[in-house]
């Protein structure tokens, strides 16, 4: 099966090269058969990558310990669930997995548009094949997952051997989140290849801007959704597994996943400027280019360890490949841009500072500043070493200082932006749209102050969250009221109807609402508390409203590890509530330990309990308890964001109601931006 797999990979490489070279020839000659054959070569590439990936999974499932990768990442006792995850637990498999996910996207694109957009698709196909060639080069010639296990033999040659059992999967990865987090994040990283291919293809083909933007909207949103999920699942994994009580540490790898998300978010907003007003064309193209480059950079940072290690490129030669690839992409992007930049001319100018355009502009600017700050902070060790010879890193204070105000500004714009009219907003409509939400937000702020809320940033955040939530709810309320007046349906049904008629607009609002929930959760971090204590049996510890009592301690052998766990009883108001079992795991196949955090989570706060080892003084087990307010809102907000994105991906349901009189939405969508009638907002808003 390993021969089969590597053969499939080589063939995939050959097909990708044909799809690339043949595609260029097809663009030049415009020969229909050539166009068709290169498209089919693209599909064949994808199918062969699928085969290679499945054959590697087969090696895992059949416990084939003659394959070096399987030996390094699996063992017989590993459960089926984690044998799937073992695929992406190391360098070679991760890169194959990248190719695999990319192949799913590429295949879907080729199938979806096989008979459409004939002028554009050959260009898109060539760009996608180019990206595939890079990853297939790594899969085939640099980091092949199909290497047989070999040891130096007697005569100097390498002898093939097979082991009885493998080394097992790193315990840190043996958690359910780790099975779903990488596929999500990688789906995000790979997914941004598609908008990139369309943007670059359209620029090369001088294809009309609105069209490619329209075509890629769906793909961008899918990639964005996966990226969001990937980031949050990663944060949740860090929270539930690493046992330090937090979910985000501004680690280079975390930052790497945030970067394309920031530019991708900016892009999702700024495309509306191009659709509606024909502005920011250059900006949009470069945003997509940058997003894709940041995806590659993210993969590179994750895979090469360039930043986290003490010395640059200490761990892997793969870094040079990535740097080279990024260089080529940048050259191609600049080349295409300078050749066809006249095609990206803006059709309009900014009219007013209080307008939808300017809110988008500021949203983009702020996201970009955040991206630049995170990027420079992440790469600071590398650059400072280049320029000064000293390797200097920056830590959490740097990132927090910049990004907290940025986050709050963004939150503010989330509330304001969607309600501003295109071109110019009158003072009167400002009052109508923001009077209530602003009042409610301020009232919430005052109430919080009265109740002793004294953290500045958290207070601002709370105020803004209430403000934004009110604007969103008011939008639903106004729209649903109009529908209800006409159809007489219940309020909920009207709201659903409203959403289904303009999924993009109202889906977007749901996403905004989800972000509000995430911000509520983030604001809670200012109030985190923790306590650590050596615990004798029967000892108690008081944290917040909870009393923790150590009821016992046990050691329990499991299938591939030994668990030591504390039995902690939780009381509230002297009434027993439940038991928590923080645990340490000692794995049999590796020398590493694993920590299992026990969490009791409510919307108000998380009680987070860690078995922190044995105290050197007393030889007693140490209990470390954290009280983290509002954390659950983050995960809940993430679910809402994903739900909202899915809603926005749905096609609009046709309006059943007859549009009132002369107000035709398609003719003059801009002028009516603020009219509270829903029927005027059909279509893309």
């Amino acid at each position: 099966m390993d021969v089969f797999g590597s053969f499939a990979l080589v063939l995939a490489f050959v097909c990708a090269v044909y799809a690339f070279g043949g595609g260029i020839a097809a663009i030049v000659t415009r020969h229909p058969l050539l166009i068709k054959s290169t498209r089919q070569a693209g599909m064949a590439t994808c199918c062969l990558i699928f085969l290679a990936t499945f054959s590697l999974e087969y090696l895992f499932f059949s416990d084939n310990f003659s394959n070096a990768y399987v030996v390094a990442h699996s063992n017989r006792d590993l459960s089926t669930f984690y044998k799937i995850a073992a695929l992406w637990s190391g360098q070679e498999g991760s890169l194959l997995f990248w190719s695999f996910l990319l192949a799913i996207y590429v295949f879907s694109v080729l199938i979806t548009y096989r008979n459409k957009n004939g002028e554009l698709m050959p260009y898109v196909g060539v760009v996608m094949a180019g990206v595939q060639i890079f990853f297939l080069t790594l899969n085939n010639f640099v980091e092949s997952p199909f290497r047989a296990l070999a040891v130096p033999g007697a005569n100097g040659a390498m002898d093939l051997v097979a082991r009885a059992d493998g080394n097992g999967l790193t315990p840190l990865l043996q958690y359910p989140e780790m099975v779903i987090h990488p596929p999500n994040l990688y789906s995000g990283y790979t997914g941004f290849t598609i908008p990139f291919a369309f943007a670059l293809g359209a620029l090369l083909a001088r294809y009309p801007g609105e069209k490619w933007i329209h075509l890629t909207r769906k793909w961008t949103m899918i990639a964005w959704m996966f990226q969001s999920m990937g980031i949050l699942l990663g944060a949740h994994w860090a929270y539930a597994v690493l046992g330090w009580g937090g979910y985000w540490g501004w680690d280079p790898v975390e930052n790497a996943s945030l970067l394309p998300w920031l530019t991708g978010t900016a892009f999702l907003h700024s495309v509306m400027m191009q659709e509606k007003r024909g502005m920011m064309k250059v900006w949009n193209v470069w945003l997509v280019f940058c997003t894709f480059l940041l995806c590659i950079l993210g993969t590179f940072l994750t895979r090469s360890g360039v930043v986290s290690s003490v010395h640059a490129f200490a761990n892997s030669s793969i870094g040079n490949w990535f740097v080279g690839f990024m260089g080529i992409i940048l050259l191609v992007c600049f080349g295409a841009y300078f050749k066809n930049r006249d095609y990206l001319k803006s059709e309009n100018q900014l009219d007013s500072i209080v307008s939808r355009e300017s809110s988008f502009l500021f949203n983009n600017l702020i996201l970009l500043v955040s991206c630049v700050a995170v990027l420079s902070g992440t790469l600071f060790p590398v650059f400072s070493e280049w320029f000064t010879g000293n390797r200097i890193s920056v830590g959490a204070p740097f990132f927090n200082k910049v990004n907290i105000p940025i986050g709050l500004l963004l939150l503010f714009l989330t509330g304001v932006g969607p309600l501003l009219a295109w071109r110019k907003t009158s003072t009167e409509s400002l009052k109508r749209n923001f009077g209530w939400p602003l009042g409610i937000g301020l009232a919430a702020g005052v109430i919080a102050l009265v109740f002793g809320f004294r953290e500045f940033y958290s207070w601002i955040c709370l105020l803004l969250c209430v403000f934004v939530a009110s604007t969103v709810l008011m939008e639903f309320y106004r729209g649903a009221r109009v529908i209800r007046a006409r159809s007489g349906a219940s309020f909920m049904a009207s709201a659903v109807d409203l959403t289904m008629r303009n999924t993009r607009r109202y889906g977007g609002y749901i996403v905004h609402m989800g972000m509000v929930f995430v911000f509520i959760g983030l604001a809670g971090a200012a109030f985190n508390r923790d306590l650590q204590k050596d615990m004798r049996q029967g000892d108690t510890m008081q944290i917040g409203p909870y009393t923790l009592v150590l009821q016992g301690f046990e050691t329990k052998p499991e299938k591939n590890y030994t668990a030591q766990r504390m039995l902690v009883e939780v009381l509230r108001d002297k009434k027993p509530m439940m038991m928590l079992y923080p645990e340490k795991r000692r794995f049999t196949t590796t020398v590493e330990n694993g920590t299992m955090v026990a969490i009791y989570s409510t919307l108000k706060e998380d009680l987070y309990v860690v078995y922190a080892g044995t105290s050197p003084d007393t030889q007693l087990p140490v209990l470390h308890a954290y009280l983290n307010p509002l954390v659950k809102w983050i995960w809940f907000g993430g679910v809402v964001v994903v739900f909202g994105t899915l809603v926005a991906l749905l096609p609009n349901r046709r309006a059943v109601l007859v549009l009132s009189g002369a107000q035709q939405p398609a003719a003059q969508p801009i002028a009516h931006g603020l009219t509270p009638s829903v029927t005027l907002r059909e279509g893309h808003d």
């Binding site: 990865l173 330090w244 501004w250 060790p381 204070p397 740097f398 927090n400 971090a525």
Partner: protein, 145 residues
């Protein structure tokens, strides 16, 4: 043109304010990387900077004492005694022969006082260290977010 100027001022103010915050954060958290060998050649004010030193944990050197954990890092043939005084538990990956990154500053006796310890398990089973899928294992660092 007046509108453009307004935008320019708005953008300028935002960027300048954030730049200032970034500079503050940089001053607060900048940390120098040094190798163990370099550490012994540092003089004067360079010695009091916050720094990060990486190395391999010497086998059998980890001693858990009250209030701190002592161990020895080795790298490039040199060794460095370290006292970890942080309150967070050491990461699970911190064992003999693991790659560790310590953050803190050296004291006057040549002992390194670490407030943060990160560790990555030695890649005993893998010829080329790969990393760990989506996120790097990192336990001992926390942020205020």
């Amino acid at each position: 043109m007046k509108k453009q100027a307004k935008f320019g001022v708005g953008i300028g103010v935002i960027v300048a304010a954030l730049g200032f915050l970034a500079w503050l954060g940089y001053g607060e958290s900048k940390t120098y990387y040094h190798t163990i060998a370099e550490l012994q050649t540092l003089t004067g004010s360079a010695k009091s900077q916050r720094m990060r030193v990486g190395g391999i944990v010497e086998t059998g050197s980890i001693r858990r004492l009250s209030g701190h954990v002592d161990f020895v890092l080795e790298g490039e043939g040199k060794t460095l005694p370290v006292s970890y005084i942080g309150s967070d538990p050491l990461p699970d990956t911190f064992v003999d022969k693991s790659q560790a990154l310590v953050e803190g500053h050296p004291d006057s006796n040549g002992r390194f006082v670490a407030e943060v310890v990160q560790a990555k398990c030695a890649s005993k089973y893998e010829a080329a260290p790969g990393g760990t899928g989506g996120a790097a294992p990192k336990s001992a660092e926390r942020s205020s977010m």
